[in-house]
Symmetry: D2
Subunit: 377 residues, 4 copies
Amino acid sequence: MKKCCFLSVALLIFQLHVNAQPDSRKVINIPGIPGYLTLKCDLHMHTVFSDGNVWPSVRVAEAWQEGLDVIAISDHIEYHPHADDIPVQFGRAYEIAKPHADDMGLLLIKAAEITRQMPPGHFNCLFLEDVAALDQEDFWASIGAAVDQGAYIFWNHPGWRQKDEIPIWFSEHDSLYDLGWMHGMEIVNGGSYYPLAYQWCIEKGITIIGNSDVHNPTGFEYLTGGEETRSLTLVFAREKNIESVREALLAGRTAVWRGDELYGKPACLKAIFDQSVRVISQPVKLKGKGFSYIQVINESDIVFKLKMGEGLKGFGYAPEIVLYPGRIGTMPLQNLTDGKEGQADISIPYTVTNLFTGPEENLSVTLDMQVNFIPED
Amino acid sequence: MKKCCFLSVALLIFQLHVNAQPDSRKVINIPGIPGYLTLKCDLHMHTVFSDGNVWPSVRVAEAWQEGLDVIAISDHIEYHPHADDIPVQFGRAYEIAKPHADDMGLLLIKAAEITRQMPPGHFNCLFLEDVAALDQEDFWASIGAAVDQGAYIFWNHPGWRQKDEIPIWFSEHDSLYDLGWMHGMEIVNGGSYYPLAYQWCIEKGITIIGNSDVHNPTGFEYLTGGEETRSLTLVFAREKNIESVREALLAGRTAVWRGDELYGKPACLKAIFDQSVRVISQPVKLKGKGFSYIQVINESDIVFKLKMGEGLKGFGYAPEIVLYPGRIGTMPLQNLTDGKEGQADISIPYTVTNLFTGPEENLSVTLDMQVNFIPED
Amino acid sequence: MKKCCFLSVALLIFQLHVNAQPDSRKVINIPGIPGYLTLKCDLHMHTVFSDGNVWPSVRVAEAWQEGLDVIAISDHIEYHPHADDIPVQFGRAYEIAKPHADDMGLLLIKAAEITRQMPPGHFNCLFLEDVAALDQEDFWASIGAAVDQGAYIFWNHPGWRQKDEIPIWFSEHDSLYDLGWMHGMEIVNGGSYYPLAYQWCIEKGITIIGNSDVHNPTGFEYLTGGEETRSLTLVFAREKNIESVREALLAGRTAVWRGDELYGKPACLKAIFDQSVRVISQPVKLKGKGFSYIQVINESDIVFKLKMGEGLKGFGYAPEIVLYPGRIGTMPLQNLTDGKEGQADISIPYTVTNLFTGPEENLSVTLDMQVNFIPED
Amino acid sequence: MKKCCFLSVALLIFQLHVNAQPDSRKVINIPGIPGYLTLKCDLHMHTVFSDGNVWPSVRVAEAWQEGLDVIAISDHIEYHPHADDIPVQFGRAYEIAKPHADDMGLLLIKAAEITRQMPPGHFNCLFLEDVAALDQEDFWASIGAAVDQGAYIFWNHPGWRQKDEIPIWFSEHDSLYDLGWMHGMEIVNGGSYYPLAYQWCIEKGITIIGNSDVHNPTGFEYLTGGEETRSLTLVFAREKNIESVREALLAGRTAVWRGDELYGKPACLKAIFDQSVRVISQPVKLKGKGFSYIQVINESDIVFKLKMGEGLKGFGYAPEIVLYPGRIGTMPLQNLTDGKEGQADISIPYTVTNLFTGPEENLSVTLDMQVNFIPED
């Protein structure tokens, strides 16, 4: 559709090359660690310059429309099924997309994907200067060329093509890790999540990463810019620039978002939760052994699914509560003790069942509020 | 469905009477006049105690779920089609709903609808103490009983049952107005809008009101608590309490919301727009006679449909732009003058075609931004 | 909102009492057992005449809008929290709703809910003539009064208020069953599903039932008439009349629908699947050991989630496939055998993981198609 | 996202090149002229081989997902902004897309767009054999090369870049028309509609066409395969093959669909309406001068907006009624005459305000039903 036709009609002044320009951008609300920005990043995607099916500017337009801040186009070094029609040019997708990203205020990271049979598998290299230098027959020569440029390197979809998608850590991965060349690892790739990879990241101090690895238009699977969000890495950066992204990735200040789930260090996830959720109807009045509805606002775009934790005596409260994005939830709270009076601060313990601080561990939080005990008539 | 069954299973401690309690509340974002709250009010609705089809607690639950702050249940004084089953009790809906409204933090106004053939038609009386006192054969006795209680009185759906829904101002309305007994008027009732009523309000200094007048569950027509919003009065009140609502209504600090449209005084609508909309990609760089995309955020839940205004020379800009709720819009801006350099503040004039300061008049606004002119290479 | 105001404006001829009348009705497509109609039934719901919060006509309007064919309003015999305002009248909800149901072409069953502490719990009695006769102090007197009228009796939400919602079969239930007074049992009530109850139904030949048990407007939880469907009983009846519904219930020709899941006898579920699903791109061409996409249409409004079954040798096919309502799904099929030629009929075995022929058993089906084997070039 | 990863896990047998393959296809229900199929066709779209931004296989995948039957990729002959990266190959998009279209059962028409300044503007040529032959400096040489191949030729977006998008008929168009080289004309291109072009088509016997002219992923603007439909040509063809499409286009058996609106000859639109819409609650009972609700089903995916027509005396009926896709609408019907008895067939006249048989003319229809008059008690 000729989206800019109105311009020609009204003004006839623009000599636009019509870029892929959607008409509005989603705003993703995720509060982060105090003092840091929460940058929404997709660091793995493809274009027609490797085995993707869209022109590079489409990746910028999609990212802008979907509310992202940072993307890396990581076309394969070794795989070019469209080469008969599009002669191989390493780094060309970056060149084409860069002016469009600048116009739209997105950060674009120059990147590539080294693509080998497992082991060692596929690796994304970010912050490259010379993509062509990675085009080497030998894997170690290729990854070395990235290292020489100071690249940030992460292992992609470690469970891909393994039985039941369970990743295997080969000796090659030992070598990479020992050399300090495995900075990050995808624990999420598209819809896939690799719990064992998450475990490795925690044990070995590897930064967790989540990406879309999209090849086709993102709109094939959801309304671009609508409610659904692609798998992302949340990067907690000091500023919105390339250097800050690199610093945060190296420092391991990331969380991963996939569907309804968040993965990350307790401090990161706690910061997100605590700045998103708040009891708004304080002080809560409790008359005798009666109950009141407490109201809890969730100001973020992440759903929080709470399950009763342990430790608070003398009160009855909801075993389960879901706090929807941008909405106010409610739950009954009951005093179970006779003769209470006056005011008290209470903290109701909950576990957030969709926030994972480890493959088997969920974030613990409290809902904090002031309570007024009112004597029974 | 037994919404609270989990409580009995897990705790067996609550002795709830299961109220109509939805599980979450929508948050409506509408910034208002600085120094005032924007209260979302529906001041006209019915229950089984007149010709409505729901129990009073449903009105509270719906309002809570839909993000409202203030409601008035205004059952008819004269019309009780369910009387064979439900003996008439004036003000009973208020009594039933009040504890539930208190629990949920909603303001409930005691009210009634005087319901006569046109002329003079139907009138809502708010802030009543004794509803039964309005049960008088004679209209003037009835409205007088409301006046005696210091009621706030507004004329409902003035175009109802008139040809083409165009209202007629009868001598009875002169009398009411001259006596100071017509404080407000519905310019919107459900899906209906009465432009002539709006004109009268402007000319005569009558406060504009918009309500749902809902008789059935609101969910018959839209997902309660979803994206659609019922017709509302926005009241700009000093505080969230009954007295402040009355003060604001008397002072005429209201706007009316129906579907995509807002109606109100220029100062009210301007305040809403100016605090909702902002150019975020400043300074805008314009190279020679090239163009840039400017990005405009709309932080409110109201859509703004802009149409090019007049007065800005030397620039090309979009003839039309729609700013969707909670999203960032974009539009090209072009410099048309040779040899510009340095920095300038510019204001692009637009008309907001869905914000009505009068039946035929739209709000004028500007998009303000700083521009950097960069010489052509 | 004054839904019918346009009539008065345009014609001024109707003297309507404005019923709760939504503007359109959803059509639910579920093919059934050949020779029978699939009636969509909700046999358990409440109004203001017991502890519900809507007027009886709302139940008819909701059912019409949501595409139902049959409803039973089953107000409690023993529980009337609104009695101070609405004097108890047994069967009154039926009287009020009946003319509206007749107008809209819905079948309305006269019913009531006997409501006792567990054991024995709650029981719905359908096809009553005299509801008031059930108002007896003694449970057996009450249920006997229903039996005397030839009522159809089913046990409601057998797991309600039991630990973990797991139902317990008490001696009272033995008595009821032995007397032939437990014709049916709710294995689904609102969002709750009782697998153990389903097991009992299979073992004891009790008809399975699923209902909403709605007390508030159905629109509190989903857009009435939109995509979501309330929990229902599918009744496979010879004709659309009350007598046929009774006959089908007594004969056990039902299935239960809750969210994405269907429960029922193998023959019932198989009939639904086989008439809903069809391979449309036949004959499928398989060249050498290559593969083709087969296309499978699902003409019903039920999703089918298929998981690879066992038994077909020599072919590769999708381990999982989801057939969305009213859409065409696709999956690759590959020939694994050398030298095949000519044509063959094949049946790919699948298990439908969301169709339950028992608490632990899923329906087995086949996707049948004709295949053309084409020699490799 | 690695859509086919499950295959590798489960089978490890497929050596797929992962095409752009969405997981399900929408079914568009539009009944047509008896004896003909209604093929949903988009005959104008672009890929990276001219100024589009997607790989050709994306166009096939989108069309399959969105329920289309026929597409033509019509890359520009004269405009190749990606030529630095993708050497110009006329007809290459067709070659790439063809096997994928064959797999998915879509018809793909070999086509190109001749792209000149206005006059004469842009022209799509369908059913080409040799696209490169159209690459001629002179417009008439280019169009002649298409004619030589027996191409079907239509004028694209005739209002594009004209003042207020109003098309101008130049002498070049006279020449083309007189030579019999203007078989069709786009009266719809993307969101734009050209009423004057429609008028010309009617007067001159030119076939009406509507297309998307999409350059970016269709998912930029709507959920591919969701409820929204792109602008289309409905072709009423004898069979689903290329020859039948050509025959129908030459015979002028088309209609055009844009958003909620349909454009076409009275006979075509009437056939669609009459096979989509039916009164289902017959006979309608009318007691004395009372009223009944009639129920009207719309089995198509097109909305019909009806406005009261003239000619039926003695009855009151709805001035307006909207029949939503796949739903049942309702409206009151009232007898206005005393003393009627027995049975009668009546036809209520309506105008379909969103079905255009000409730029200013709407389709006239009737709702036909049998009525039983029942004497007042």
